[in-house]
């Protein structure tokens, strides 16, 4: 296992010193500056004139400090033309005149029309599901739609069902968040709450732990979707602002593969979230399958199935990059990001006071037949988790602290949203003690903690 430099408690990684080389980049209206910055470097961007946005969120005009990007592949688009000042190094960069922004913006305006009507009639706004193969730009489109909705004064609930990349939490989690404030430009979706003021408003995610890499492998994905859909629907019903705006759901590419033309997970998400707008990105075949299946099903509310082209800027992200991305998300959970440094805490616990439930993986459990949402069915509780004692085996792994009691039924543990994560920094087998890195001081409540195989262990998070 590789060690990430700078991942230590005493010296959280600071952004690299600015390379003094700075240059200006003029972008004509309707073009975008695409760039990739590895984790080892950083790029500073200032907007000198004109307007510019990163995945829908506008850059502030001539700020004192530049926006700083590291470990990112992204594009800065301009509707009106702009001049940027760039400093630092990229791995690759170019300007593209051909983008999909007009379509994506149109998609936003189409949703705005639905929202207007929903508002007028007191109905719920659009429930939008974004599907498509890996790296088709789904997450980018969700960000653009979210940013534009926020700009239009909406408060959409944004749902991330892709465990491979966290949204306001670590990878392995699934989240739902109402966005009412500006989406962070530098750091993906921004930050969940911290104990002090934050220069960019924090977001309030509702977090569940999935703990596996793909929704296709486990048996907890669909029950979790059911559970999240209930929570989201309740919020939409009760929160007038969110209700008008509706929700936008991001998904992993895996559910769009459609083994043998079957899309069980998509079907499940559509019915649980009452999806009525389906955006299909970058795949003719998927679009045709989706239209056939959902656009004119007579029984239920019709789903508008819309095909969007993949942006030419989308880049495939290889496994080493994804892994670095995961580790940086985990690091940011405990230590913060950029100048917003956080101070987590470590402390020792007795073995007896931690209650660890390890997810039983598919291979060990051949029973695949379950019904969606069957929370309290006849399955033996032991099929979801096995209880494990702390041991050196779990060192460097991440535990999800649920809101459930260790004595609750396993389904209750599965369905529980989580309080957060702790990291197993050390295990003293001889003393039966375990050292946990927790986001804040004080004892971790004695709730059930879930251990999955994903994300993988992070070595040396604590020095």
């Amino acid at each position: 296992m590789t060690t990430l430099p700078g991942l230590s408690l005493s010296a959280p990684q600071e952004s690299l010193p600015q390379v003094p080389v700075s240059r200006t980049q003029d972008l004509p209206a309707g073009s975008e500056y695409r760039f990739e910055v590895p984790f080892s470097r950083s790029l500073g961007v200032k907007l000198l004139s004109g307007t510019a946005e990163l995945f829908g969120t506008e850059l502030a005009p001539h700020t004192k400090d530049p926006y700083t990007f590291s470990g990112i592949k992204a594009a800065i688009y301009t509707w009106h033309g702009c001049r940027l000042e760039l400093s630092g190094e990229t791995e690759s960069e170019y300007t593209a005149e051909e983008t999909q922004m007009m379509s994506y913006a149109n998609a936003h305006f189409a949703l705005e029309n639905v929202r207007e009507r929903a508002k007028a009639s007191g109905q719920m706004g659009p429930r939008v599901l974004v599907v498509g193969p890996e790296n088709a730009g789904k997450t980018s489109v969700v960000r653009i739609l979210t940013a534009y909705a926020v700009k239009a004064g909406r408060q959409p609930v944004v749902v991330n069902l892709d465990p491979r990349q966290g949204m306001l939490s670590v990878p392995g989690s699934l989240t739902a968040t109402t966005f009412a404030s500006i989406v962070d430009v530098e750091e993906g979706w921004g930050s969940s709450p911290i104990s002090g003021p934050s220069p960019v408003p924090v977001k309030m995610p509702l977090v569940y732990h999935y703990g596996l890499a793909s929704p296709e492998e486990g048996k907890t994905f669909r029950p979790l979707v059911t559970r999240m859909a209930l929570a989201v629907t309740s919020r939409l019903e009760e929160d007038a602002e969110a209700k008008t705006a509706g929700c936008i759901i991001d998904t992993p590419g895996a559910i769009s593969h459609g083994k043998g033309g079957v899309y069980e997970n998509i079907q499940h998400i559509i019915s649980e979230f009452s999806v009525n707008v389906l955006l299909v990105l970058g795949s003719e075949r998927l679009y045709s399958d989706m239209s056939r299946k959902f656009s004119n099903s007579p029984s239920e509310e019709p789903v508008s199935v819309i095909k969007l082209d993949k942006s030419g800027g989308c880049v495939d992200r290889d496994e080493p990059y994804m892994k670095q991305l995961r580790q940086s998300q985990i690091r940011a959970y405990f230590f913060g990001h950029g100048v917003n440094t956080l101070s987590p805490h470590t402390h020792w616990e007795d073995y007896s006071s931690v209650h660890i439930f390890k997810i039983v993986e598919e291979a060990k459990n051949t029973n695949r037949s379950f019904l969606p949402g069957d929370d309290d069915d006849g399955f033996a509780s032991t099929t979801i988790y096995e209880r494990v004692q702390p041991s050196p085996m779990i060192q460097n792994s991440l535990l999800a602290v649920t809101n459930a009691d260790p004595n609750d039924k396993q389904e209750a543990i599965r369905d529980s949203s989580i309080m957060g994560y702790v990291y197993v920094a050390d295990v003293e087998e001889s003393k039966h003690k375990i050292r946990l890195l927790a986001p804040l001081s004080g004892r971790v409540p004695p709730h059930a903690m879930v251990l999955g195989s994903f994300p993988e262990d992070v070595a040396d998070l604590v020095g």
């Binding site: 004509p28 209206a29 309707g30 200032k46 000198l48 004139s49 004109g50 969120t57 506008e58 502030a60 005009p61 001539h62 509707w79 009106h80 033309g81 000042e85 400093s87 007009m102 149109n106 305006f109 189409a110 949703l111 705005e112 029309n113 700009k151 939490s169 109402t178 009412a180 969940s192 709450p193 911290i194 104990s195 002090g196 003021p197 960019v200 408003p201 924090v202 309030m204 509702l206 929570a231 309740s234 929160d239 602002e241 969007l308 959970y333 913060g336 101070s343 987590p344 649920t402 809101n403 459930a404 004595n407 529980s416 949203s417 309080m419 986001p439 804040l440 001081s441 409540p445 709730h447």
Partner: protein
């Protein structure tokens, strides 16, 4: 309980002391600073007193008063920086425009130090937030640019041997000799002004020596539709100006030409110093084309560039071809108004006044309004007061032909024209967003140079092409907003509608409709009163979250909220009006706990200075502000407001129960909220108890 003096009394004392301050006297200034320091609970009242004094005192006494302000913000700091920062733009600019050059220089010196941290202080923040000082700087640049323009104009006039302007029969202000009436005009004659420009730009430029924020010529605004060439546009306007000037030289008594010239100058200034959205630029471009004499039918319209605008006839040609019968008063706005309908059939018409209004808001962020939008009203029309700044209009009047009622107006009955001034004098005074060139435009408006009050040519009633048809004057506040958002959104939820048709005009809903941008984070606001209010609160919020000590205090990530809390959580917009934050009302969005426990009640830290420093009347302990994520604000925990007094909620509870029940015991513990999750908050059975307590 010791009761402090009421604010009014302290403020009155402070005011008295201020009245005596007539020179830059160290002891007096430090005495005033001490009063301020010892009475921070009355900071608001004191700040208001100081602002009033600076505004109303004689010009030569303003500088010492500004030194008092400077001393207080540097030596006492908050909360004065907050209160004085809100109106600093106005306080500063009001005074600046009345000062002579040396005093202005001194004020610029002050401003410079406000952009830096207090010398030898631990606090690394500038004295005032940069948003505040930047606005003033921007305004100064504009102010001087106008002065230079006038200087250039007057030189040209001299060259053209324009007959000397007769001394106006009445002074331009009808006040008795103002203290500094002569020095007022120095900007246009003072050669230093010219040097000040590059210098000032240098000061505005961020450390990296970037060029002044403007759209790079040529690279921008090349939208898919008509191409926009700013350089071309500027030179076209330049040509129009010089032709209008020659025209004027021939007919110095023609107020119409004068008006046109004025309008063109305004346009030029705006183009130079504001970043307008391309759509508006395009419209200006169109109007400018209209303004120039129509080229001959065989004019080279068949150039190779399909969308390029027709080239202009030479200046000579132009001056030989009066744009309109010279006797007809004429204004750009008139042209704009006339051309509106056919120019923009599909999208909202944009007129110059509208552009002016929008552009004074930093549409693209070239300047930023200050937190509390200063409403610059130099004077009431009929009786200008000494606080009148010299305006472009006044400067123009200096060398323009007398535009007095006495001037002969040989117009037979011209179609009632609309002048800029007329448009300006619409109820825009309140509609105008603050910042940028606002003060200048207001000054122009107040001077009514252009006919509204000075000419026989302007009828009292709106002209046929009615202004109010463009802007319903009933609600001046929402005009620019509503006009921009009324762009029709015809996108349907179909693949064809979304992907096959490009609708660049809809993008205006995301940009031009929200022209008032926060320079710190890029968030946009409407120019309506509501938008301005929101932005003010938003800027206050930015100010509050600038916390240099955060790192020291060991900020950590919080636990996530649980399902029930999340469902009941309502987002708090930092720009939204503060909620009824009384703990008892439970309207404050406190973590979705159905019934809050007494000690969890909180209120937002009051802004009223008297309340901020008052202890709990029951136990006499002071309240400690603490950051509450859920409120997105600093709050006092365990606090409740009853009859305008703030108590500890626990103290109040105990007191109101006659001291019976305790409950004021432990403070919040990190998971107390979770601990309260009880089965009974479940509404539909979904949220069963998942944790036994």
């Amino acid at each position: 309980m010791s009761f402090a003096l009421p604010s009014a009394e302290v403020a009155a004392d402070f005011k008295d002391a201020l009245q005596d301050l007539k020179i830059n006297s160290r002891p007096e200034i430090s005495n005033l600073t001490i009063i301020a320091k010892e009475n921070t609970e009355h900071a608001q009242a004191i700040s208001r007193e100081l602002e009033n004094h600076i505004r109303s005192t004689r010009p030569e006494w303003k500088l010492p008063a500004l030194y008092v302000l400077d001393s207080i913000v540097k030596n006492v700091g908050t909360p004065y920086t907050v209160y004085l920062g809100r109106n600093l733009y106005r306080t500063f600019m009001d005074a600046y425009t009345l000062m002579d050059m040396p005093t202005r220089k001194a004020m610029e010196g002050l401003l410079k130090t406000w952009k830096q941290p207090v010398p030898e202080s631990m606090d690394t923040r500038p004295v005032f937030p940069s948003e505040v000082t930047r606005d003033i700087e921007n305004a100064l640049i504009k102010y001087r640019t106008v002065a230079i323009q006038q200087q250039a104009l007057s030189q040209k006039q001299a060259l053209h041997a324009v007959p000397a302007r007769p001394m106006p029969a009445t002074p331009w202000r009808n006040t008795p000799t103002p203290p500094q009436s002569t020095s007022r005009y120095t900007p246009s004659n003072d050669p230093r002004v010219r040097q000040a420009i590059p210098q000032q730009y240098g000061a505005q430029i961020p450390p990296t020596s970037t060029p002044p924020a403007q759209f790079p010529p040529g690279t921008n605004f090349q939208d898919r539709g008509a191409s926009i060439d700013l350089d071309k546009l500027n030179s076209d306007i330049e040509k129009l100006i010089s032709s209008a000037r020659s025209e004027w030289a021939l007919n110095p008594s023609d107020t119409g030409i004068q008006q046109k010239l004025k309008a063109l100058f305004d346009l030029q200034t705006i183009l130079k110093h504001q970043q307008l959205p391309p759509e508006q630029i395009r419209q200006i471009q169109d109007q400018v084309i209209q303004l120039s004499p129509a080229p001959a039918p065989s004019a080279p319209t068949s150039t190779s560039v399909p969308n390029s605008i027709p080239s202009f006839p030479s200046v000579l040609q132009q001056s030989a071809t009066p744009v309109q019968p010279s006797s007809t008063p004429f204004s750009l706005s008139q042209f704009l108004a006339q051309n509106l309908p056919q120019q923009q059939p599909s999208s909202t018409p944009v007129s110059l006044p509208q552009i002016l209004r929008q552009s004074v808001t930093p549409a693209q962020g070239s300047s930023t309004p200050v937190p509390a939008p200063p409403v610059y009203r130099p004077s009431v029309q009929p009786a200008p007061t000494p606080s009148n700044p010299p305006s472009l209009a006044q400067l123009l009047q200096q060398f323009g032909p007398a535009a007095t009622p006495a001037a002969p107006t040989p117009v037979p009955a011209p179609p009632p024209p609309m002048s800029l001034a007329q448009l300006f004098s619409q109820p825009t005074a309140t509609a105008n967003p603050a910042g940028g060139a606002d003060w200048l435009l207001n000054a122009l408006r107040s001077q009514n140079l252009l006919g509204a009050n000075n000419g026989t040519s302007v009828p009292p009633a709106p002209a046929p092409m009615s202004v109010s048809s463009i802007f319903p004057s009933t609600d001046p506040v929402d005009r620019s907003w509503s006009s921009s958002v009324r762009i029709e959104n015809d996108v349907e939820l179909t693949t064809a509608s979304i992907t096959k048709k490009s609708r660049p005009n809809l993008i205006a809903k995301l940009y031009e409709a929200l022209p008032n941008q926060c320079a710190t984070c890029g968030r946009r606001f409407e120019t309506s009163a509501k938008g301005k209010e929101m932005k003010t609160r938003h800027m206050d919020w930015h100010f509050k979250v600038k916390d240099p000590d955060a790192a020291k205090r060991g900020v950590h990530r919080s636990w996530y909220i649980n399902e029930r809390e999340w469902i009941e959580f309502r987002e708090q917009d930092d720009a939204a009006p503060a909620q009824a934050s009384n703990g008892a009302s439970d309207a404050s969005g406190m973590l979705g706990v159905a019934k809050k426990e007494t000690k969890d009640q909180y209120i937002h830290v009051p802004t009223d200075a008297a309340l901020v420093h008052a202890p709990c009347p029951i136990c006499q302990e002071k309240f400690e502000p603490q950051w509450l994520v859920d409120a997105n604000d600093f709050v006092w925990m365990d606090a409740i407001k009853v009859n305008d007094k703030i108590y500890h909620a626990t103290c109040w509870e105990e007191y109101s129960r006659g001291g019976g029940v305790g409950g004021g015991g432990g403070r919040n513990t990190p998971d107390s909220v979770l601990g309260k999750r009880k089965a009974e908050v479940s509404t539909n059975g979904l949220f069963k108890k998942t944790r036994a307590d």
